[in-house]
């Protein structure tokens, strides 16, 4: 019994490693880029941020570009005039359609007197960076590293760090004890079923075996409606990743904020 279980455990570990190792063994090369056209960073900051971007690109195994522009005009590629399509087309121009990667675009003037920050994802990164993870990154970046008080370096640097945390495969720490708690509850369920097999002596609930066949006779049956109540609960927010198609035909995920 124990030997068989150990053998099964070993087989599982083997399968897991066979399935996982190739993912790490992949040696495709990924590019990274920082394009500060809006000139919001000092040369020092640019060097530091580029190092971070390089690190994130390598850790996430995807292309990563950060771009700042004054406005959406004067692009070297065609787009339909929205921040979203600008970011999507910017990515496609750099790395091609449906490759694995992310572009972070900062627009200082979106034409409506506001700034835009936008993250566009492509390829496997669409799934890896979920909508809620992206919104969390924006929340913290805008709240704690607001460009109004601390300049753009902290703001963009946090976004890079946030992307790294979200895109690298990760399982939350409490999942480990939770996994074993779930397994223990399952074990107890199975054991209670097995224990029930050993117990066959109990009082009968009723006398259902002794009802005279056909003797049941319902002489009155009334179902009267009394009243109704309505309760409502908020719908849980969708935790997946939404996606759309760019004007160039590539598939992208992502979203942005105006501030």
């Amino acid at each position: 019994m124990t030997k068989r279980l150990l053998a099964a455990l070993f087989a599982v570990v083997l399968i897991l490693s066979v399935a996982i190792l190739p993912a790490y063994a992949e040696s495709a090369s990924y590019s990274y880029k920082l394009d500060d056209s809006a000139d919001v960073l000092s040369p020092d900051e640019e060097t530091k941020l580029l190092a971070t971007i390089k690190d994130v690109s390598e850790a996430c195994k995807c292309n990563l570009a950060f771009a700042t522009v004054k406005d959406l005009n004067g692009a070297s590629f065609s787009h339909n005039g929205t921040t979203q399509d600008y970011a999507d087309m910017y990515y496609e121009t750099l790395y091609g359609k449906n490759t694995d990667g992310i572009v972070v675009l900062l627009v200082l003037n979106n034409g409506k007197g506001k700034r835009d920050i936008y993250i566009s994802t492509s390829g496997k990164c669409i799934k890896q960076l979920s909508d809620s993870e992206r919104e969390d990154i924006f929340d913290v970046a805008l709240d704690k590293h607001s460009p109004d008080s601390k300049g753009y370096y902290d703001f963009l640097n946090y976004i890079a760090v946030g992307i790294k945390g979200a895109v690298i495969p990760h399982v939350k720490w409490y999942m480990l004890p939770l996994s074993f708690i779930i397994a223990f509850v399952l074990a107890m369920l199975i054991l209670s079923f097995l224990k029930k097999q050993l117990k066959s002596v109990e009082m009968q609930r009723g006398a259902v075996n002794y009802v005279r066949p056909g003797s049941m006779n319902v002489t009155a049956a009334r179902d009267s409606y009394l009243y109704s109540t309505v309760s409502r609960t908020a719908r849980p927010k969708d935790s997946g990743s939404s996606s759309h198609t760019s004007s160039g035909g590539g598939s992208h995920g992502g979203g942005g904020r105006s501030f």
């Binding site: 124990t2 279980l5 099964a8 455990l9 599982v12 897991l16 399935a19 996982i20 993912a23 495969p169 399982v171 999942m175 996994s179 074993f180 779930i182 397994a183 223990f184 399952l186 074990a187 107890m188 199975i190 054991l191 097995l194 224990k195 097999q197 050993l198 117990k199 066959s200 002596v201 109990e202 009082m203 009968q204 609930r205 009723g206 006398a207 075996n209 002794y210 009802v211 005279r212 003797s215 049941m216 006779n217 319902v218 002489t219 009155a220 049956a221 009334r222 179902d223 009267s224 409606y225 009394l226 009243y227 109704s228 109540t229 309505v230 309760s231 409502r232 609960t233 908020a234 719908r235």
Partner: protein
């Protein structure tokens, strides 16, 4: 006191009821007799019993102190040995010669059962069912299965009270139905409440209640149901070769349990007519019984005893249908070993699965 055994008309050996052929059979000369055919012979033997009554009573007087403490002694008709039983013993065997003895007095007057369901399964069937009962039970200690030692196996006719009754019922339930829908922000659930009323009647036939304190009630209810259509008018001949006790819980005392079972099943039956609701909760229920009749019957049970770690385990098999019951011990070591290994393996699998989902 009158002890009765059925003598073979051919060789005078003691006859026993053979459950496989449903006849009386002489174990010495293998002659078979129909139970009904023995009826006349049975009456003759009854007369013999009356003749010997005086003699036995004299013998019995020496045992008055034992009688007062619930003991009864009888003289074996075959070997003259003394058979000691208690005040309820109705059929037993002689400890000296093994012949089957039936104590007629236990069936006189109102003590005579109305029906008996004869044994259909023999001792070998009971042993086979016992082995089957031990199969496929993961938590059963291996040593219990391997030792597999049956201390005692006995075919017993257990006294049952059978209750027939018509039940009238008025039952009111509170029932709910739900409907759900959602818009972009909320999920809505509408719960509608109904008052559901049902009235009607249902009849019960032969609801059995154990009439012997020596038999545990839960064990006897566990081997149910018995198929009453195979019951026959009582003849003491059926008891030959088996053990039997007369009842020591009378019909009055058994009514409460019968009522309880009939009431529960009546409520369940009407509950089942309430369809199309999500929840149904009884609010009020009135069950009235009438035309109740009580009968006294002997039902066949094979009783097996075994000992494991100084504890006694009792098993029972329905002598008519072969339904086998009896609680078994749990291997505590195996229980916790399984819990630990399963938790470790399944926990690692679940956690590994979470990583796998992330990585793929």
């Amino acid at each position: 006191m009158a002890v009765h055994e059925y003598k073979c008309p051919c060789c005078s050996g003691a006859l026993a009821f053979d459950s496989t052929i449903q006849k009386m059979k002489c174990p010495f000369c293998d002659t078979e007799f129909e139970v009904e055919a023995l009826k006349a012979y049975d009456e003759d033997l009854n007369n013999e019993g009356t003749d010997k009554l005086e003699w036995d009573t004299n013998a019995g007087t020496q045992w008055t102190t034992d009688e007062a403490s619930g003991l009864r002694s009888y003289i074996c008709q075959s070997c003259g040995g003394e058979i000691v039983g208690d005040e309820n013993t109705a059929a037993t065997e002689c400890p000296f010669c093994g012949n089957h003895a039936i104590i007629m007095q236990q069936f006189s007057g109102s003590l005579k059962p109305d029906y008996v369901i004869p044994f259909k399964l023999n001792k070998e069937a009971a042993k086979a069912e016992y082995l089957k009962h031990l199969q496929g039970k993961f938590l059963l200690p291996k040593i219990f299965k391997d030792e597999n030692h049956i201390d005692e196996i006995k075919g017993i006719y257990v006294p049952f009270w059978l209750f027939d009754s018509d039940a009238d019922a008025d039952i009111r339930f509170r029932a709910t139905r739900t409907r759900s829908w959602s818009d972009s922000n909320y999920n809505y659930v509408e719960t509608s409440y109904f008052s559901v009323y049902r009235a009607g009647n249902v009849a019960f036939d032969h609801v059995p209640v154990d009439g012997s304190t020596r038999m545990p009630d839960d064990l006897m209810e566990s081997v149910e149901p018995y198929n009453f259509s195979e019951a026959v008018d009582f003849r003491t001949a059926y008891l030959s070769g088996y053990f039997a006790d007369k009842y020591d819980v009378d019909a009055e005392q058994s009514i409460e349990r019968a009522n309880q079972r009939i009431k529960t099943s009546t409520e369940d039956a009407f509950r089942d007519t309430v369809q199309g609701y999500v929840t149904v909760t009884p609010e009020y229920s009135s069950v009235r019984l009438h035309d109740g009749k009580t009968k006294y019957a002997f039902y066949p049970v094979w009783l097996l005893n075994t000992t494991y770690k100084d504890e006694k385990y009792t098993f029972a098999m329905n002598g008519q249908t072969g339904k086998f019951v009896g609680n078994l011990p749990t291997d505590k070591g195996k229980f916790w070993r399984f819990a630990a290994i399963f938790t470790a393996v399944a926990g690692a699998l679940i956690y590994g699965g979470m990583w796998l989902i992330q990585l793929l």
